[in-house]
């Protein structure tokens, strides 16, 4: 009967059946175990920021806005390193509704929105020792949700407005119709107003880089400006834009803001990691070299390939087009030679850190003396060569844009007043340019602000949004004329709105496609 003993022993070895089949995930925690403590709340809000810079894959403010948006505008083109056919087709506006980058833009913003929604759903029930911290976290979530929706509504027009946290299993419970743009904007305004009331003016280490009250206010003024612009054209919003901007502007700029914003004296400091989150930075996507792939991927994409000691794949290239007898005309040549911003924005050669030789592309147009190919260089990190990664933040909102918003909205509201001149001239002065000539008409002033925006903010993910927002003297959009001017002749009226991604339509029967797609 020895055998029975063996059998008994084996049976006893396996502990109770119920326990045996319980799942005990060792490498992650489950939602039920989470959202209990203050530190859970803090990590929960950090995860929302993650969608500004997701590291391993392209995220809106780390390359995706470039490959999925900038490429289509009149300042940028795919370089030899841009191998993706979705990117290349977008760059000539032959892209389709199945364009993967466009789907990624859609999906990543909503992934961020979901993470903001979970914070807003779960954090109120967590007990905090410090209630202002709880309010701050909720304010950050609202700020980020507003920012994500602001991007979506500008790119796609009417979009599904999801503001609650759902954890349903069935895919069909996530089917949703599109919400009209003005309702989406109303929610953005509401979120930003609430955020401005609960966010602090500034942070000290280790929290520098989080959303501030000033950021919420500044973003609100920008939101108003966009609502007043095409396509919504709600001109009454110019007043709100001016009011909000003036609440952000510091007293030396005629505002009532107590946020301490100012321009850097040196334009180059705006983009250098040493000055990140400085006085001019209202809100930036935080980039960090050698940390969870959170470095600024744009840096290498702008560098010409095959330079010893430098990592560059030259995926992003300055757009060239024929202008008069110059076949290599570009945004570079729109800058005045004395504009200090030009040589910060561009370089015309790279110095190899290993052999100290200069590497440049050959002359572009022999008719223009000293002409050579410029590379845009805003995201250059001086430590890049040694680190191989870049810590340069990507600016989302900065003080000079607030000045330009103020100038533009004031001009639309009251014409080129002294206030409007004062704001634009602050930006010009820092660039080393003389004051704008006085006595401009409203239309002329508007064009001047548009040009100033383009030069000041080029490659900062603003141009496409401006191309679909700005208007000519007759009040019509400028997208078609601007792109045709640079030879992107596939541009059509449908391009004012991005297509709703095909995958999205395939997976949500309640969605409708944008006109023309």
């Amino acid at each position: 009967m020895k055998f029975y003993y063996i059998l008994i022993a084996i049976s006893l070895l396996s502990s109770s059946c119920k326990k045996f089949l319980e799942e005990d995930p060792e490498s992650f925690v489950s939602e039920e175990q989470y959202y209990k403590t203050e530190s859970d709340a803090e990590t929960a809000i950090n995860a929302v920021y993650y969608h500004l810079n997701t590291g391993t894959v392209q995220s809106p403010y780390n390359t995706l806005f470039n490959t999925g948006m900038n490429m289509a505008d009149d300042d940028e083109d795919p370089g030899p390193g841009a191998t993706n056919s979705d990117v290349r087709s977008l760059a000539v506006l032959s892209h389709s509704t199945s364009n993967q980058r466009i789907y990624e833009l859609w999906q990543q913003h909503y992934a961020g929105i979901r993470k903001a929604n979970v914070v807003l759903a779960k954090v109120p029930d967590i007990t905090f020792s410090d209630e202002t911290k709880k309010a701050r976290i909720l304010g950050e979530a609202k700020f980020l949700r507003a920012l994500f929706y602001f991007n979506l509504v500008r790119l796609f027009g009417d979009v599904p407005l999801v503001t609650t946290y759902e954890s349903e299993v069935l895919a069909s419970s996530y089917y949703t119709t599109r919400t009209s743009s003005d309702s989406v904007y109303a929610k953005i305004e509401e979120d930003l107003t609430a955020a401005a009331a609960s966010l602090p003016v500034s942070y000290s280490s280790p929290d520098v880089g989080r959303a501030t009250a000033g950021a919420a206010k500044a973003l609100l003024s920008k939101v108003y400006l966009y609502e007043a612009s095409l396509p919504l054209n709600i001109t009454s919003k110019y007043q709100s834009a001016v009011t909000e901007a003036e609440e952000v502007l510091s007293s030396q700029d005629g505002g009532t803001g107590s946020y301490g914003y100012d321009l850097f004296t040196d334009y180059s400091h705006v983009f250098l990691p040493a000055y990140k989150n400085g006085i001019e930075h209202v809100f930036s996507a935080q980039m960090l070299a050698n940390s969870n792939s959170q470095d600024n991927n744009e840096t290498q994409r702008a560098i010409y390939s095959s330079i010893p000691g430098l990592t560059g794949n030259y995926a992003h290239m300055v757009r060239y087009y024929t202008n008069g007898n110059d076949n290599y005309y570009s945004i570079y040549k729109i800058f005045r030679a004395d504009d200090k911003r030009r040589d910060v924005t561009f370089v015309r050669s790279f110095t190899s850190p290993t052999n100290s030789k200069k590497y440049a592309l050959p002359l572009s147009n022999t008719a223009v003396p000293n002409d050579s190919t410029p590379f845009y260089n805003k995201w250059w990190d001086p430590n890049y060569a040694s680190a191989g990664e870049s810590s340069t933040n990507v600016t989302i909102l900065r003080y000079s844009e607030v000045l330009l918003i103020h100038a533009e909205a004031e001009n639309e509201l009251n014409g080129p007043t002294a206030k409007a001149y004062k704001s634009i001239n602050r930006v010009r002065a820092r660039a080393g340019l003389p004051d704008l000539v006085t006595g401009l008409s409203k239309d002329q002033f508007r064009d001047s602000v548009y040009l100033e925006r383009r030069l000041e903010l080029v490659y900062e993910y603003q141009r496409w949004f401006d191309l679909i927002r700005e208007k000519d003297a007759g009040g019509s959009g400028i997208l078609l004329t601007s792109l045709q001017k640079v030879g992107k002749n596939n541009v059509a009226a449908k391009h004012y709105l991005y297509p709703i991604p095909q995958t999205e339509i395939d997976n949500n029967p309640l969605l409708t496609q944008n006109p023309g797609w």
Binding site: E23, S96, T97, V169, Y174, A387, N507
Partner: protein, 1032 residues
């Protein structure tokens, strides 16, 4: 909840394991006392094989009309002590031989048995036991012995074309690479659909994730390739519910039972089997040469309103006038392969041993790729005493593969031919300087390190104790340990490594599986009429995986490769993982035979899986079957020509739990960020929990007919089945607006749900004919299978599901899994036509599409669905033998399948950024308007159209082998037991209209929904081998 009560009862039973211990006693009480015959006569004798005259141990001799019977011993001797007087008739039975009724007139007697020709006799391995074929009620098929001799590197490939109802696809040609196996169609959409493999009673882990530590780039290595096919005694495939339900939980996709070779009593031999062979690519794709490509590039620029200049390069010259580089011929090579197996069988009175070692080396047809295997095996059977038998089977293997990185084939096809391989100074050109950058694929192949190695230990011990006659208790304990290590190094001198200044990564994944199995079997014959055979038991299995990856980059020298991660200047984020699942099961089966005429099988299994949510962990899988041996009926005695006729009917239910662990939980995932220049942690749920997640279930009915004709010279097995899978484990793709789709985690769906239903129905036929049986023997085996798959239901309110807009696949109600959704092409836009295209190129020369809804424009609603379903698969094996010569000729057919040829779609883009296929020479130009090929044009949006859906039908001469076995006289003189020489060829000829490398491909591996895609896969090969088998 319905059934809740019975559920809780069964659970209660479960906790009381002691019930199990009571079972043997119960059986023991049931077994009746032995009949004691009168002793007044004794007859002895020997039973031998009629041809070889070798003694047959274990044959049964029964005196007709009485129950008295005996069994031959190791030397084939028997002795009968009986009350009968000579002469009388005895019935002699031995498995694999024709049953003989013979009159005994004197003692000692010599009885000769003839090996059966009848394929419907013999034994098959079934779940938890073996069965006589004539007793089988379900649908079970065995791999014919001739097929097993094919020199292939993994077990599944032996199933290809040799067993009806089984579709095997070599998903890519990487040595040691993937194989996808479907038994009776696709049961599932997103859960696993490959069968369960059971080796010597141990259900093994065949999930490809166990051999992927996450570092190697390219096709995964097949975990079954760790096993040596020469070690296999038999392969049996369980297909219907009656056969598979005993494996309930994992039986839904069929079960493949593999038995390894064992030693036998009082026999010993030493065997060497070795072969050497070469492999070649089946075909290459005709591509443009440098001159033709340059013309295309110029055309594309002109048509897009641009001019084209040659990029400035230093150190080498771009060729625009000559032939340029033929990247395919640079990379494909004639690759050697060799295998050496040594096995020793030794059998004593109490202990039988099989010891085997194997070395296999297969180089790939792409340079620097390959697969190597070292394996060792030990099988021991030991009779401790008359009651206790111990067996142990241990397999240890080490495999190592150099994997072709995933972008290699695309590099070979798309890299412009103008680019030379080498610079003027002899070093490699790094990358193409054109818009779409490709790394020099030859440099990548030669200099990248991309390897995966696996150590696998599979061992089990079994103790079998005979409690009473017919009553046995068996305990099996086993472990399957898989240790995968992957290494990658991208040197600075490659394009991939240049941006990192050298990139090194290592990964390790350790998976251990243990199994505990307690079964009790009871076999009893009551008088002459009733036989029962039962098995009941409890088993538990658990699998645990722990993985780690690390990488760094920025190396001053390439010399250290991946061996010193610390010397990289920057580190990538390291990773680690843990995964565990458990399965607990109760099983029972009863086989009952009445008078050998009526057969009944009933089986039941209850499985608890940790993968499902609390309250839904248990699944119950019953099955029942009946068989009727019509030929054993009285009324059949006079039927001439038909000597076997059997009807089988079965029905039952099986399950599927083949999804990753933890799918029912909402997982909190790490989402890092940084503030104040310092990294911070972020966490958020990445999935939702599914509190109702439970078993996917398949209900199957099967009707089968076995027919034996002309004294067993022809045997026919035919089966019809219908399967319906419900509670489909499916990840319904969610709208991106839910925020749940998360590309950073490659996630596009909520979580696994039990939604939808799929049906499969089909017909299988297997004919085995001994056409000639004299000195010249000719045997033909034909098998034919047809399966029709249909999606019956998806999630509520949804009738289609498109996983990705960048792939042409769709799952739609009423259509088979793996169908396509594409635009329909409608010729080329000509001068004066109204262009219908979603493309920017709407000028003459552009591609015209069909406006399905007639709204005058092409939008996504104009896409059409094209079903993708095999009409049938078939295999035809002809074996001829004369004297010592054996010739096997094996044809295989796969008819009606379709493939989306992504390679060709890319080669016909016509951008001039990359190379094109020769088809582009026929492209539309203002002077060549009568064509079906569109003009060259830069930057089109990718439009997936029916143009690239091709018929993947193929007929293939899969294997031809010729062998010569030396005759006995020679062997005696040379003091050998056996000597055989052979030559063989695989994939010798393929007849197909498919234009890609090979129609047998599935770039998405085991994934079902988009299986019919040929994209950038390592091509298959054809091979020739010569070998020797020597027995001492």
């Amino acid at each position: 909840m319905a059934g809740g009560k019975s559920l809780s009862i069964i659970k209660n039973v479960m906790y009381k394991k002691l019930v199990l211990l009571a079972l043997p006693l119960l059986y023991a009480m049931l077994s009746p006392a032995q009949d004691k015959p009168l002793i007044n006569s004794s007859v002895s004798g020997t039973v031998v094989d009629a041809r070889t005259k070798e003694p047959l141990p274990g044959a049964s001799i029964r005196i007709e009309g009485v129950t008295n019977q005996t069994v031959t011993d190791d030397k084939g001797h028997f002795q009968l002590i009986t009350g009968q007087k000579l002469p009388y008739h005895v019935i002699v039975r031995f498995i694999g031989y024709d049953t003989l009724r013979v009159e005994l007139t004197a003692s000692p007697a010599k009885i000769e048995l003839t090996q059966t020709l009848n394929q419907l006799e013999g034994v098959v391995v079934v779940g938890y036991g073996t069965q006589k074929k004539s007793d089988v009620t379900g649908s079970i098929a065995s791999v014919p012995p001739a097929v097993k001799e094919q020199p292939v590197n993994s077990i599944e490939r032996l199933l290809q074309g040799s067993v009806s109802g089984v579709v095997v696809t070599q998903t890519n040609g990487q040595p040691g690479g993937g194989v996808s196996v479907q038994i009776r169609g696709n049961n599932s959409i997103s859960a696993g659909s490959d069968p369960l493999y059971v080796i010597d009673g141990f259900p093994i882990n065949n999930n490809y994730s166990v051999t992927n530590a996450g570092v190697t780039n390219g096709p995964n290595i097949n975990p079954l390739s760790t096993l040596n096919t020469a070690d296999i005694e038999s392969i049996d495939v369980l297909k219907d519910a009656s056969a598979t339900a005993i494996y309930g939980s994992r039986g839904a996709n069929g079960v493949v039972l593999i038995t390894t070779r064992k030693g036998s009593k009082n026999k010993s031999s030493i065997n060497y089997d070795g072969y050497y062979g070469v492999q070649k690519v089946i075909k290459t794709i005709p591509l443009l040469n440098a001159r033709e490509w340059w013309a295309l590039r110029k055309d594309a620029a002109t048509n897009s309103g641009k001019t084209v200049t040659l990029p400035t390069v230093t150190g080498y010259t771009l060729d625009t006038t000559g032939e340029g580089t033929d990247w395919q011929s640079e990379a494909f090579t004639t690759a050697p392969m060799q295998s050496h197996s040594l096995s020793i069988f030794s059998g004593g009175e109490k202990t039988r041993l099989a010891i085997a070692g194997n070395y296999l080396k297969q180089e790939g047809i792409l340079i620097k790729t390959g697969f190597e295997r070292f394996s060792a095996r030990l099988n021991v059977e030991h009779d401790y005493n008359k009651k206790l038998k111990l067996t142990s089977s241990i397999i240890g293997t080490h495999t190592k593969a150099n994997v072709a990185p995933s972008n290699i084939v695309s590099g070979l096809l798309y890299t412009p031919p103008s680019l030379p391989v080498y610079q003027d100074n002899g070093s490699y050109v790094i990358n193409s300087p054109f818009e779409t950058v490709y790394a020099n694929p030859i440099n990548t192949l030669n200099n990248q390190t991309n390897e995966t190695s696996t150590n696998r230990f599979l061992g089990n011990v079994t103790g079998e104790y005979t409690i009473a006659e017919g009553l046995k208790a068996k305990v099996l304990l086993g472990a399957d340990v898989i240790d995968n290590k992957q290494n990658r190094y991208l040197p600075k001198s490659t394009y991939e490594g240049s941006s990192y200044n050298g990139y090194a990564a290592v990964g390790s994944l350790f998976t251990s599986n243990w199994l505990e199995e307690n079964t009790i079997t009871y076999d009893k014959q009551f008088n002459d009429k009733h036989r029962i055979s039962t098995v009941a038991g409890f088993t538990a299995q658990q699998s645990q995986s722990k993985g780690v990856t690390a990488a760094s980059y920025g190396y001053t020298s390439d010399a250290l490769s991946y061996n010193n991660l610390g010397s990289g200047t920057s580190a990538a984020t390291p990773g680690s993982s843990a995964l565990k699942w458990s399965l607990a099961s109760y099983l029972a089966r009863v086989n009952y035979a009445f008078d050998d005429r009526f057969l009944v099988t009933f089986s039941f299994r209850a499985d608890g899986s940790s993968k499902f949510s609390a309250g839904n962990k248990w699944g119950y899988f019953p099955s029942g079957a009946i068989g009727w041996n019509i030929y054993k009926e009285r009324f059949f005695e006079n039927v001439k020509g038909i000597n076997v006729l059997k009807l089988r009917l079965s029905a039952g239910s099986t399950g599927n739990q083949d999804i990753d662990a933890y799918q029912s939980l909402a997982k909190i995932t790490y989402y890092p960020y940084n503030f104040s220049g310092t990294a911070v942690s972020g966490y958020a749920p990445s999935t939702v929990s599914n509190k109702n997640l439970t078993w996917e279930k398949t209900f199957q009915v099967n009707g089968g007919l076995d027919v034996g004709l002309l004294n067993g010279r022809i045997s026919i097995v035919a089966d019809y089945y219908y399967k319906k899978t419900t509670n489909l484990l499916l990840t319904g793709t969610v709208p991106g607006s839910s925020g749940l789709a998360d590309l950073t985690n490659n996630q596009t769906s909520t979580t696994y749900q039990n939604i939808g239903a799929i049906s499969n129905k089909g017909f299988e036929l297997n004919v085995n004919s001994n056409n000639l049986t004299g000195a010249f023997r000719w045997n033909t085996i034909l098998n034919f299978s047809r399966n029709t798959n249909k999606i019956l239901q998806l999630t509520e309110g949804v009738n289609e599901y498109i996983p990705s807009s960048s792939a042409p696949s769709i799952a739609k109600i009423g259509h088979p899994v793996g169908s396509f959704i594409v635009y329909k092409t409608d010729g080329i836009i000509q001068e004066g036509m109204t262009p219908l295209t979603p493309q920017a190129d709407a000028s003459p020369g552009g591609q015209q599409y069909k406006d399905i809804n007639g709204d005058g424009k092409i939008t996504s609603v104009d896409r059409v669905i094209i079903d993708n379903q095999l009409d049938f698969t078939a295999g035809l094996t002809n074996s001829f033998s004369y004297k010592g010569f054996d010739l096997n000729v094996f044809f295989q057919a796969s008819v009606g399948g379709k493939l989306y040829n992504t390679n060709e779609a890319q080669l016909e883009l016509g951008t001039g950024y990359t190379n094109g296929s020769k088809v582009m020479l026929r492209r539309w130009t203002p002077t060549n308007t009568n064509t079906d090929v569109k003009e060259a044009y830069q930057d089109p949006a990718i439009t997936m159209s029916d143009r690239f859906i091709e018929d993947a039908t193929y007929y293939r001469l899969k294997n031809v082998s010729l062998s010569y076995s030396f005759p006995g006289s020679f062997l005696t003189a040379a003091k050998l037991k056996g000597l055989r020489l052979y030559i063989s060829a695989q994939n010798l000829v393929t007849w197909t209209n498919y234009t890609g490398f090979d129609p047998e491909v599935s770039s998405n591996g085991q994934t079902l929904i988009n299986k019919g895609v040929d994209n950038n896969s390592y091509p298959n090969n054809k091979s020739y081998q010569a070998g020797i088998t020597l027995t001492l």
